[in-house]
């Protein structure tokens, strides 16, 4: 668990630089008088260490990093660093298919990767929008002609809360599945519409998203997707960190089974 929040507003004096690190993965920002420089040092394998904010001294191998220059007439001194959820839906696929028996309901926990975003205050110009570890592309849909591009993650969609690993670079989404049908529902993969969810942090600075609940009715093959309001109950003393990437007015979306489960 991350003990200290790595997000918030950070003030930079001229020539000051700061480094956000998880293990070998590092994102560095440095302020000059007329430009901002950023270094993005990526790694192949995910690390479960805590995200640490510090000065440059701890970061090595800066030559291999991707370099960015952002020009401004007079650079502002405050940067707002916030976590963001993924820019596409994330498809979570349990190791073995789950079967929800008829007339039952269950609460699953799925974790999705988090993006690092840097914005300049006061105007809110976006400097960076990087994934800590970009998940693999995937396709979710009833056929190869109809569907959407999303991210895929092989996971064990946990049913017990204490089983889920709490990692600082992932946000946990609780999903309530209600099966009112008289046949059991087999869940092989779950399309989590992450672009519509709010992001919260609990008292241990673990990231949570708004919960979603999926209702399958008795008669139809359609499912209703409800976006819960507010933080999930599992998040203790939650605080709102960020809004969704795509704002939707509806809180209830009707989808067919094939667009959420398969």
């Amino acid at each position: 668990m991350a003990d200290k929040a790595w997000w918030g507003e950070f003030t930079f004096s001229l020539e000051q630089q700061r480094c956000w690190r998880i293990g070998e993965r590092a994102i560095i920002l440095k302020r000059f008088e007329n430009e901002w420089n950023s270094w993005n040092l990526e790694t192949d394998t995910e690390s479960d260490e805590a995200i640490m904010v510090g000065d440059l001294a701890e970061c090595t191998a800066i030559e291999e990093a991707k370099f960015g220059r952002y020009l401004q007439q007079n650079t502002s001194d405050t940067v707002q660093i916030l976590p963001l959820l993924a820019d596409r839906s994330v498809v979570a696929r349990p190791d073995t298919p789950l079967t929800l028996l008829a007339g039952e309901k269950s609460r699953l926990y799925v974790s999705t990767p988090v993006w690092f975003s840097a914005k300049l205050l006061p105007k809110g110009e976006s400097l960076l929008d990087l994934a800590f570890w970009r998940p693999s592309d995937s396709w979710f849909g009833p056929s190869t002609r109809v569907g959407q591009i999303c991210y895929a993650k092989y996971t064990a969609a946990r049913v017990q809360l204490n089983n889920i690993e709490q990692r600082p670079h992932r946000a946990i989404t609780p999903i309530t599945v209600v099966n009112n049908h008289d046949k059991s529902l087999t869940i092989e993969r779950i399309n989590v519409p992450v672009t519509l969810l709010h992001l919260y942090a609990d008292e241990a600075n673990q990231l949570w998203t708004t919960g979603i609940s999926v209702h399958r009715d008795r008669q139809s093959d359609n499912v209703e997707l409800h976006l819960d309001k507010g933080a999930p109950v599992e998040a203790l003393s939650p605080s709102l960190i960020n809004g969704p990437r795509m704002v939707t007015e509806q809180s209830i979306l009707i989808r067919s089974i094939s667009s959420l489960f398969a």
Partner: protein, 285 residues
Amino acid sequence: MQEIIDFIDLLKASHLFALTQAALLFIVGFIMARLISSAIVKLVKDKMTAHGQLFLKRSIFYGLLVLVSISALDNIGIDLSILLGAAGIFTVALGFASQTSASNLISGLFLMIERPFSITDVIKVNDVTGEVISIDLLSVKLRTFDNLFVRIPNESMIKSAVTTLTKYPIRRADLKIGIAYKEDIEKVRDILLAIAAKNLICLEEPAPVFILTGFGSSSVDIQFSVWSRRENFLSLKNSMYMEIKKTFDQQGIEIPFPHLSLYAGTATTAFPLSSVAEKSDKREK
């Protein structure tokens, strides 16, 4: 005065009057046609190319001239049904000549209704692949990837198979790999699936497909099909092939060259050859 009237009466009686009338009509008509065609071309001077202007002027002039000639001939008293017959034959000949153009026109109409592709799609017709830059009445214009301009008549598009490469958002790349006979096929399969899983632009779903196409003459032939977004197709192929070669080299899996076995004849076994520095070559029969 009386003499002029007598003269005109005399002329009326003879055919000469009709002939003179016709000649006068023709001359006046000729001048009128010239004037009208020039006037009309002056009106549309800015809107047409030089070629178009000339074409318009000529067609108006000759059109009017034909009309004037017909009425002049009618005046003389020649039977016009012969001309009608000639015009009929002329129309049939014209119909035969414009067969392909008419066919292209109608094919174009049907293509517009059916809409298998639109502008900026990439299509492949017969052997030509290119991006559609315009869909016209008679033809479709393509820009090939080496920046050449190709005009394809609509008729050949209706008749042959047209492949629209940019219709669907994802595309499958079929990678052809050959491994030596001595390799463990299951192990190669696991390696290939691991490479596909690690590649970020290779889609997880639809899952990559491992197909053993057969036992080739020099190698075991495998087809490994992976999916990606249409835009990433080329970079997926490149990155997968490079990664496969690198991993095979690391794991010591051989991609064989074509093999040839030498025999002396039908009854003998293969020549044993040994390459030794000091000894001379030994020959065995």
